[in-house]
Subunit: 338 residues, 2 copies
């Protein structure tokens, strides 16, 4: 492992999530078994609906982070398998409720669950998975893990409501945006990493470092997601490019393009976001204005900043396959799809 | 306290929830303070939306049951205050998600939250309260309570999905209906009672008796609710009479009226429930058919059966104000609004 290999831009080989996947592959099978077993129910629509999202296309990024962080701190038990399944359930519950809230048509490259099963069942199956997540944690029995994940869940819900409020407000600040994505995305990344340190009974300093790694990585991931929406394609993203724009979501690219724009550009953004004037021609214009304002480039620059923070958070951990994989995952978060 | 006073029908004075309220009034203030403190958030819409339901009109029936059961088993601590707030949060979260799922216009005599704040915020504030419920339990630190309430939550969500599936199916059996109301209503009543025994470190037999009391009481409550929908008024119910009918909900009165009806009556019910042909004239006809079939009377008779089971579940507990109040609450559950 060297600084050259893990540098965040200009690397010679393409960034990849492969090292992380290879590192945790055998254990991930066990986690998948727990996930499949625990999403079962006599009520047939529950495994069908949950499985639509869980079985199909999910990268299991958060469980993989738990597994890799456990490896990083030398944990040799298996308690974190159940807990990482729990994190995936919380994540899936959030996605299901998001689908209802956003009305987005696609999720992970498939039709969103609420369009197939309806909003009602989607909300309730989300509730079911959320409850199952807590059942899994209770079985493990660590009150500290329960505290981390119940707090994370409360923060996520608050972040989602916060985002709902800003949805059509063009004057949202970058600070507020960062608060929202920290709450709605980064907190669960950080919890996934942190709990590995908790089950390993690592020192407080180690647990804090894992927490920081996850949080910064999560922010970087979300920033890049928000950038890709103005330039990626549906296949890479598992969602349609322009989804955020059409939903009037205030993401950092929009915030930057608006702040830096002239009167004409600002009028365009105001109309697009606040009045929802967002057809295909509008989206093309949006992308043009963003390029002119350097909004995508600078969103990615912000992402690189957080990527560096994530890498530094684990800089003093012992070298090895786990550390390599976690550093490379940061590189992947930044570089994917570009 | 005597069998005469607590008999379930033909009593001379009207049944009342007053004894329960008087028993727990001082402690309930403490619970209310916890509830109000914990529904706060920097995101202003959260306390506004949560408070709409929590501050207004809620009877706090489940927290009152926890408090009364704690008194019944001689518990003198205060741990159950936080836990009963937790139960109320789970209940409120369920109601908020129900409002989205049912599309009902009224809740506790007020406009439903989703009609004021939208489905999106209502789903998310439900998630927030649910997370807060777990945070409160984690603070208390009893893994057994966490297990009871996380399992209850999973069962509730399953019951709700189950009900969603039966919603427009006229051939739902009484068995399945009982399973649904046990899951979606009775389980939280039983959890509320049971956790009092857990914090009091009562014997397993006592904890089981409290669980049974709550479960049977919950079933009785729901049966009476379902009967009242075909004859109560909005003021008593906090919902509109006929709401269930208009939503095509398969409740026991409908199941009985359908099973006992002639071909004509069955055709009516099929049309009403499966095709949603449910205007005001249809509702009047539904009530007429029910009266003819004795469907309301026998739904109430079933309720009385469960009421007797609830009372017998705590028959061997020591006499006193707590026992009197809990027995009288059963009587109230059955007799209210009739």
């Amino acid at each position: 492992m060297s600084a050259t290999i893990h540098q965040l831009s200009g690397g010679q080989r393409p960034a990849s999530i492969e090292p992380l996947m290879q590192l945790v592959a055998p254990e991930l099978n066990g986690v998948n078994e727990i996930i499949l077993a625990r999403m079962q129910s006599d009520v047939a629509v529950i495994p069908a609906l949950a499985g639509h999202l869980i079985s199909g296309g999910g990268k299991r990024l958060r469980p993989m982070l738990t597994l890799a962080c456990a490896r990083l701190v030398g944990y040799e038990g298996a308690r974190h398998h159940k807990l990482s399944a729990s994190v995936e359930f919380i994540h899936t519950a959030t996605l299901l409720h998001d689908d209802v809230v956003d009305g987005s048509g696609q999720r992970r490259g498939k039709k969103a669950a609420n369009l197939i099963w309806g909003n009602e069942a989607t909300v309730l199956v989300g509730d079911f998975l959320f409850s199952r997540a807590f059942e899994l944690m209770v079985e493990d029995g660590s009150l500290r893990v329960l505290k981390i994940l119940s707090s994370a869940s409360a923060v996520i819900a608050q972040g989602e409501v916060d985002q709902l409020q800003t949805q059509r407000r063009i004057d949202t600040t970058e600070d507020r945006y960062l608060r929202v994505i920290t709450a709605k995305t980064a907190i669960l990344f950080s919890a996934a990493c942190q709990i590995a340190g908790v089950v390993a009974e690592s020192s407080e300093q180690v647990i804090e470092s894992l927490e920081a790694y996850g949080r910064y990585l999560g922010i970087a991931f979300q920033l890049v997601d928000d950038a890709i929406d103005y330039g990626g394609d549906a296949e890479t993203m598992g969602k349609d490019a322009g989804d955020d724009f059409r939903e009037g979501k205030l993401t950092l690219p929009v915030i930057l393009a608006y702040k830096r724009g002239n009167d004409e550009a600002r009028a365009f953004w105001r109309k697009a976001i606040e009045d929802g004037k967002t057809d295909d021609a509008d989206f093309a214009e949006a992308c043009r204005l963003m390029a002119g304002a350097g909004a995508i480039d600078d969103t990615l620059e912000r992402a690189r900043h957080y990527g560096r923070l994530a890498q530094d958070a684990i800089a003093d951990f012992p070298a090895g396959a786990a550390k390599d994989a976690l550093l490379e995952t940061v590189r992947f978060a930044i570089a994917r799809a570009y």
